[in-house]
Symmetry: C2
Subunit: 70 residues, 2 copies
DNA sequence: ATAATATGTAAAGTGAGCTATACTTTAAAT
DNA sequence: ATTTAAAGTATAGCTCACTTTACATATTAT
């Protein structure tokens, strides 16, 4: 799973610290998310989506193994 | 955070086992999610949304503490 | 009534999301 | 060139999402 956090953050000229504070996690968490070290929890994904005024699906990109199950 | 899994599952007459198999978790996980024991991971939330043909935001209901951060 | 299917409870274990701290490197500003 | 802010790396630790297994309680059908 990929995400557009780095891209959106740059677009809007927000630092990792600012985003981290806004969504109430540490800067370390934002760094790790941007660098693909792990996936966000659902609540964090939602907070980030809210912060950017978008939906979770707009920001987090699921690959095909995670889709088309039924 | 609440979710509409139980409701949607009943509407479509799907058993917990069927849903669990479809999204590749144990039945126990579905039970715990429906009973509010814990929150789904982002990937699981996405799989469930895909299964029901809806978005994550349609199925998982975030309360106000998790919204309006900026 | 009883068999079969669906749902629930409990408890121990694993792994990943996230924290905390501390140090390093890169970029921007003066 | 040197300070300051921004971004990155590393590691140890905690919590909770999820598994596994085993048993208990509805619910439905015959």
């Amino acid at each position: 799973m990929k995400n557009r956090i780095h891209e959106l953050r740059k677009e809007r000229r927000v630092t990792q610290s600012e985003l981290a504070d806004a969504v109430e996690v540490t800067r370390q968490t934002i760094i790790s998310l941007e660098n693909g070290k792990y996936n966000a929890s659902l609540i964090l994904a939602h907070k980030i989506a809210q912060y950017f005024g978008m939906t979770i699906e707009d920001i987090f990109i699921f690959d095909k193994e995670e889709e088309n199950i039924c």
